[in-house]
Structure formats: C-alpha cells, structure tokens
C-alpha cells in the first residue's frame, strides 16, 4: 500500500511569511508525528497526534508553530512569521497506534523548507 506522503517536497519562502506543510499518513494509522531535521542532526520531535487530538506538543519550539489533524488522517503543520532558523527538513511519520504500543513509525520523504 501507499506509504506516508508529504507535500510539497520543497518549499522556499521569505522571512516573515506563513507556510503550511501537509502530511498524508498510512491509511488506518491512528498516530501521526511531526519531526524537524536540521543539517547534520537527527530528527527532533515536534508534536504527536492520537486521532484528531494533539497528545503531546512539547516539542513545538514556540507559538509560531501549530499543527492540526481535523479528521484524524491528514495533518497540516503551520508556521507563522517564518524565520531563517526554521529552515530544515520537516518529517512526518505515522504508526498503527501510539508510542505505548511500541509500533515502529513509518516516515515520509520530508518537506525541505528554506527561509530566505
């Protein structure tokens, strides 16, 4: 079946602009995760959804970052007033159930965000 998909694959924007990044998880996966990967680093957790609700948003760096998953499937990560430091690859992952079930996470190819 289809894996996790993310759009766009690349996004270039100017400082101060608003961006939305989309994630389409594997069908039937109830848990969805957003990570940010900076150059030379491992993925850094941002937020985790169980169904429609954000079960853990402790990784969001500040209130410019927000994510939604209104129908428990597709998720959108929203970044307001982008800054150059937001430039990174944003990864989305999904798993059959949440972390407590120790299911492995399946990752999408990522969206490379560049803020000029």
């Amino acid at each position: 079946g289809a894996g996790v998909s993310q759009t766009p694959s690349n996004k270039v924007t100017e400082k101060g602009k608003y961006v939305e990044l989309r994630c389409d998880p594997i069908s039937g996966h109830t848990a969805l995760y957003w990570y940010r990967q900076s150059l030379g680093q491992g993925p850094e957790f941002l937020i985790y959804f169980q169904g429609t609700g954000a079960a853990d948003d402790s990784g969001l760096p500040n209130d410019r970052f927000f994510a939604v998953r209104p129908e428990g499937s597709v998720s959108t990560l929203k970044i307001q007033r982008t800054e150059r430091g937001d430039s990174a690859v944003y990864l989305c992952a999904s798993s059959l159930r949440g972390p407590s079930s120790y299911n492995e996470q399946f990752f999408g190819p990522g969206t490379r965000l560049t803020v000029l």
Partner: protein
C-alpha cells in the same frame, strides 16, 4: 530526559567485512530501542527494534543489533557489509513506549568496494 549518543560521525568498512555502528542511550525505565536508515532524498526506513526478550535482534537487510543493559548500548551490526549499505543510520530510544522517540545525530556508513 532521554538521550541517545552515536559516538561516530562516520564509519568506513570494506565490502565483505563486518560492520558495527555504535549507539548508547539514557532513559528512565525500560528502553524501547530502534534503528532507522536514511538514504539520500528518501525518508527514514525502519530496520529493527528491541522491546523485550532476546538481547540479539534481527532486522531487515541482514542487520542485527545487540541490546546490552549494563552498558546501555544497542550497537548495530552486520556480518558482511555491502556497498549498497552505505547510508545514514540513526539510533532512537523511547522510555517503555510512553514517550516519543529521541534520535541520535546519526552515523554515516561508507562501504567501499
């Protein structure tokens, strides 16, 4: 807080030789441990996991990893490396599954022909 250390930025081996990519972790409670591989322009791919049971875990593409509780390590191994194994490898830990994954910085594996 939980953390993962991958002490080597890069590991170089010749094709056909055994390889080891090191990982140590720190976590409260029982660890859930994972290895992922990342090829250029592709998403992370799951290789294997340790939850409980046998300390030696076998995964995809002939890889295995050994859990050592006393040394808090989870090193990735393969008896005979292939050029196609060249990629970026990430170790990750979760505290008994009740927290999200924390990843290491990654180790670039280079297998020469």
């Amino acid at each position: 807080a939980q953390s993962v250390a991958q002490p080597e930025d890069q590991v170089k081996v010749a094709e056909g030789n055994p390889l080891t990519v090191k990982c140590t972790y720190s976590v409260s409670g029982n660890p859930y441990l994972f290895w992922y591989v990342q090829y250029p322009n592709r998403g992370l791919q799951f290789l294997l996991k340790y939850i409980t049971g046998d300390n030696l875990v076998k995964g995809s593409y002939g890889f295995e990893a050994e859990f050592n509780k006393s040394q808090t390590s989870f090193h990735l191994k393969k008896p005979s490396a292939l050029v196609s194994d060249s990629a970026l490898y990430f170790c990750a830990v979760s505290a008994s599954g009740y927290s999200t994954l924390t990843f290491g910085k990654g180790t670039m594996l280079l297998v020469s022909p």
